[in-house]
Subunit: 200 residues, 2 copies
DNA sequence: GTCTACTGACCGAATGTTCGGTAAACACAA
DNA sequence: TTGTGTTTACCGAACATTCGGTCAGTAGAC
């Protein structure tokens, strides 16, 4: 605690650590897909040999597990937040959409990876189950907004849930932070389109 | 033309053919991901041995190429259709959204596969390039609708393009035909939400 | 000398693909 | 009806390569 080094994560010796290996790995996973990425690919991207990776992390699947947890932890914190419980149904829905966009942007590579998981291993299945819990949470919010009469009655709440969050999750497919749009810019555009409507 | 056999595609002998192998393969590709699917997996799903697959199709990558073409051909036919050229900008945009949903639903497994392509091989890169051409076509439509003043001026047309078609493409992630919703049901809900707005 | 952060050689398993072979179905002549 | 030759649709084994992962050794900072 009273350590003289203010940055305990970074060792004195230059080189890699579990965190930087994870960050690079997630980048490559998103480029090539998890199954399409070999440890050889990772080693090349990290500038080291395959075996050196195993000094920092236990293996390929743990790399995936850590990345998925990072995305899911963000979403679960959001679910537990006060903002998701205060106000009318539609206010809470709007807040959750906005925060979901923020988490997606803040943790872009991790959430991107999560959204591509198919359930090919116990690790992926566990992540999928946690993700479905979040989806059910959204579904409940939309239903409440519909029940209170805040959203148009001529659309199925279940469809709205999927389509609305389809637009949200699509962000991970095309968003490039370098182009200048912030998380709030994205959320504003998305909410204007889906809540207010495109038509003038 | 004057052939005595009315069904030239189907031979007298029962068993598999390139078409049924492709259909099954695309199903497995979508379950496990292309890279996560082995020829052994395909063989199991087809009820034959790995080597028998090669009697019907040249290889794994050609299976992918054929599937991607099937999806892209649909999208390109849509671009060339009269409906995409008649009416005001926003009318054409609405028509294209509706038809895109229809193609997505009609060719669900093929389009799903296309939407997951990452560019890991020349086959995938070629498909990605064709897909980007379709995306640019949509972008032009949205811009025209914005220029003619049919959509709200306080949102960036480029963002609208991505978000609107993000909602469309998300359909492949969650749509289950067995649940009863038709392509038109989906398009109706999507257009009500994005063009009219959810808020009452 | 000790610890950290690696390298290089290597392992068994799995990968996509090819090969030689074969049983059943077929077309057709005798 | 039977015999002959050909095609169809497959199997089992083997191929070279790549996979994720292990381990003994070691260069350099302390």
């Amino acid at each position: 605690m009273a350590s003289p080094t203010p940055t305990p994560a970074r060792q004195r010796r230059r080189g890699h650590d579990p965190e930087s290996v994870l960050a690079t790995a997630v980048g490559v996973f998103n480029e090539r897909g998890y199954d399409g990425t070999s440890m050889e690919d990772l080693a090349r991207a990290l500038g080291m040999t395959k075996s050196a990776i195993y000094y920092h992390v236990p293996g390929k699947e743990q790399l995936l597990a850590r990345a998925l947890d990072r995305a899911l932890d963000g979403l679960f914190e959001l679910m537990a937040d006060d903002g998701a419980a205060k106000g009318t149904g539609i206010e809470r829905l709007e807040w959750v959409v906005r925060q979901s966009v923020r988490i997606l942007v803040d943790r872009l590579p991790y959430v991107t990876l999560l959204l591509r998981v198919r359930g090919n291993s116990p690790t992926e299945l566990a992540a999928l189950e946690r993700r479905r819990e979040f989806d059910r949470f959204i579904g409940r919010l939309v239903t409440e907004a519909a029940v209170e009469g805040s959203i148009r009655p001529d659309v199925d709440p279940a469809l709205v849930t999927r389509l609305l969050f389809g637009a949200v999750t699509s962000i991970s497919d095309w968003y490039q932070p370098a182009r200048g749009a912030s998380a709030d810019d994205l959320a504003d555009a998305l909410l204007k389109m889906t809540f207010g409507g495109l038509r003038v």
